[in-house]
């Protein structure tokens, strides 16, 4: 155990020792974990992974397990190893012959954030922290509050005060210090960047971010393993900060480097809501310059107007030959319904963004019919029930008599006949 070598700056390449730091002290670039891939080759095998737990921790060798940390003491509610399911009915609706869904609604707090938080808090404990904290649009709040409770750590969770009530309550139930900030997510994040400098807490998305972000690689590892240790042709992922997409791409690169899969090209494409699309806009207008925006979309879990990994997401998409698109709020809700009705998976707004964007990318020819395509469905629909509240409801409302039911069906049959003629 233990292939972590240290941290390096993604901008200037300078190396630094493992510590709770997230930016390069020379150029302010983001820091990333370095591994000894040569040492992994031959030691980290398909068999060694398959013998591991049915969670993200089966890939522990490829995660930032810090020197001196005891993996039996990991902070683990069972995140990851979520189903990768074929989606023939959604595929038919979109015009794809080989579509798969990575169903990350199935996680301990019902979003992919459990992957990153499990890794972040495990690293935080190894670094000696006893308090966890985060800035969140909701999903991260749930996950940090839950994992901190599970680990017996204190937690401070900062959220925008206007978050959906369901997201506020399903964070508060775990008993964190919940701080509702009057402002949008970017205001909350800026506050947290300053708070992190003043208190000795593990801010998962600030000072322990290099470890936290690595957790998203497990989505890519699982996709490959679940496809029988092969790589898909195309992956479509939602983008808030852009980190998940970048780490999925990195996961495939690592699997090739370590010799766990045959090399084959995987295109990665990114999905945003039009009301908060700074990354997609920068790619589409050709400038590559990520200009911050003030978010205005129902997809609050993706509403980061100042995305930290935007440049790297653009790099990954350009390098692999993918693309990015953005979709309107009505398109997002349409896609949530389409996904639920065709495949039985109820996604929150971010999933709607991904499916609606995939639809657009197919129509534009960026995703091709024959490609083995995986769409990442990152969170559960119960988190954002309000967006479908005026779209769906009971088909019949009747009194409790058999005749009432039969006549309701007859009325429908009658209407059906009229519609046919």
């Amino acid at each position: 155990m233990g292939y972590v070598r240290g941290l390096h700056c993604r901008e200037c390449g300078r190396e630094t020792a493992i510590a709770p730091v997230h930016v390069c002290e020379f150029c302010f670039g983001p820091l990333e974990v370095s591994y000894d891939y040569d040492a992994m080759r031959g030691n980290v095998t398909r068999a060694s992974i398959e013998a591991g737990p049915r969670s993200i921790w089966r890939y522990a060798d490829l995660l930032p397990v810090l020197p001196g940390s005891d993996l039996t003491q990991r902070v683990d509610l069972g995140a990851g190893y979520s189903p990768l399911v074929p989606a023939p009915r959604l595929g038919a609706a979109l015009g794809l012959d080989d579509l798969w869904l990575k169903n990350d609604t199935l996680n301990p707090t019902f979003s992919f954030k459990d992957r990153v938080v499990s890794v972040a808090l495990t690293a935080a404990k190894a670094l000696g922290f006893t308090t966890a904290a985060c800035a969140s649009t909701g999903n991260l709040a749930h996950s940090v509050a839950a994992h901190a409770a599970h680990a017996g750590m204190d937690s401070y969770v900062f959220i925008p005060a206007d978050l959906e009530q369901a997201k506020v309550l399903s964070t508060a139930v775990y008993g964190p210090n919940l701080v509702a900030v009057k402002g949008n997510y970017d205001d909350v994040n800026r506050l947290c960047a300053e708070v992190a400098g003043e208190y000795g807490w593990a801010f998962v998305n600030v000072n322990v971010r290099p470890y936290y972000a690595e957790g998203s690689k497990t989505i890519g590892f699982e996709i490959a393993e679940q496809l029988g240790w092969t790589l898909p042709d195309h992956v479509v992922a939602p983008m808030a900060s852009g980190s998940m997409l970048v780490k999925i791409d990195k996961a495939f690169t690592e699997l090739i480097k370590v010799g766990l899969v045959e090399e084959s090209p995987v295109r990665v494409s990114g999905a945003q809501a039009t009301g908060c699309s700074p990354i997609a806009t920068a790619l589409k207008d050709g400038s590559g310059f990520v200009r911050p925006v003030k978010p205005d979309t129902i997809a609050k879990s993706l509403a980061i107007g100042n995305p930290a990994d935007g440049y790297y997401a653009i790099d990954a998409v350009r390098r692999t030959g993918g693309w990015m698109e953005d979709v309107s709020d009505p398109e997002i809700v349409d896609a949530i319904q389409l996904l639920a009705r065709t495949e039985g998976i109820f996604a929150e707004t971010a999933g709607g963004v991904t499916v609606a964007t995939l639809q657009k990318l197919v129509a534009q020819g960026h995703v091709k019919r024959h490609e083995r395509t995986v769409a990442v469905i990152s969170g559960l629909g119960l988190k954002t029930l309000d967006v479908i509240a005026d779209r769906v409801g009971p088909t019949y409302t009747i009194n409790a008599g058999l005749q009432d039911f039969q006549s309701a069906l007859d009325v429908q049959a009658e209407e059906h006949k009229e519609n046919q003629s």
């Binding site: 901008e11 730091v21 997230h22 930016v23 390069c24 002290e25 020379f26 150029c27 302010f28 670039g29 983001p30 954030k113 985060c134 800035a135 969140s136 649009t137 999903n139 991260l140 997510y185 970017d186 205001d187 994040n189 800026r190 947290c192 960047a193 300053e194 992190a196 400098g197 003043e198 998305n205 600030v206 971010r209 936290y212 972000a213 808030a240 900060s241 980190s243 990520v290 200009r291 911050p292 003030k294 879990s301 993706l302 980061i304 100042n306 930290a308 990994d309 440049y311």
Partner: protein
């Protein structure tokens, strides 16, 4: 004009661990210049070789991102607070 600059943790080794520094200047560009005069090295951390703010650095004047204003030319009033904050991930 005197303004207060909030120094992020990664830069405090250049300010003798001071969390805030008071400097003179009426635009963000002038403030970065005065800051570098008092604490040499900060300028090159904040600005890239082309003189623009590095892409992973956010600068706020009274809590408003200067990219929503006039960038380095953003005016800074007497008594304002300027924050230098590295980009953070999230979600």
């Amino acid at each position: 004009m005197s303004v207060t600059v909030r120094i992020p943790t990664p830069l405090r080794n250049l300010t003798g661990e001071q969390a805030t520094v008071d400097v003179e200047g009426s635009t963000v560009a002038e403030i970065v210049k005065s800051l570098d005069a008092v604490h040499p090295g900060i300028g090159e951390r904040v600005l890239a070789e082309d003189g623009q703010v590095r892409r992973f650095v956010n600068v706020f004047v009274d809590d408003e991102d200067i990219r929503f204003q006039q960038g380095l030319d953003t005016p800074v009033r007497e008594g304002a607070t300027v924050s230098i904050i590295p980009a953070v991930a999230g979600g």
